[in-house]
Symmetry: C2
């Protein structure tokens, strides 16, 4: 299992619209092969900041399967224009401690 | 429920020692009032980077209860010397979408 984690900075004032678009986008990602779960979290200290966590079966489910899929184009169209700056996506593996 | 999320940058070369100390420290945080769960995740792209996620019953369980406790001094002594730079802790609330 791999955890995709990304800090999202939304253009100030567009938070509600982003959350509304994310609701549609979440259906897209949830349907992908290798997708396990996701959660969107909003920062208390910086209101335009969110932490998106997506759990995938393995790294390639995200980096190859999802990103090369036609569905990713829909995901981009729904979400990418809200980000400023454009986010850096990273992947993590759980340390069992 | 509140999610504490913090990106930890460990001094390169000290990752194993950090993980060993974290194992001890995890017993401290797990015993605190308002603590729900935690996970430590290691970045695939940057090997000295970790994402610590701690779920608390509410914000004050972390910012008041834990940080003002004698146990926090033990937590600091076990972990803080591994960090460079010193991390920024943020709190998040889940968006139900």
């Amino acid at each position: 299992m791999i955890l995709e984690a990304v800090m999202l900075y939304i253009k100030p004032g567009l938070e509600c619209e982003f959350e509304s678009s994310f609701k549609k986008a979440s259906k897209i990602i949830s349907s992908m092969d290798g997708y396990l779960s996701h959660e969107l979290n909003r920062c208390l200290e910086i209101k335009s900041k969110y932490l998106l966590l997506v759990r995938w079966k393995n790294l390639e489910s995200h980096t190859v399967g999802f990103r090369n899929s036609p569905e990713y184009q829909q995901w981009k169209a729904l979400l990418h224009h809200f980000y400023e700056p454009f986010p850096t996506v990273e992947h993590f593996e759980n340390i069992q401690i």
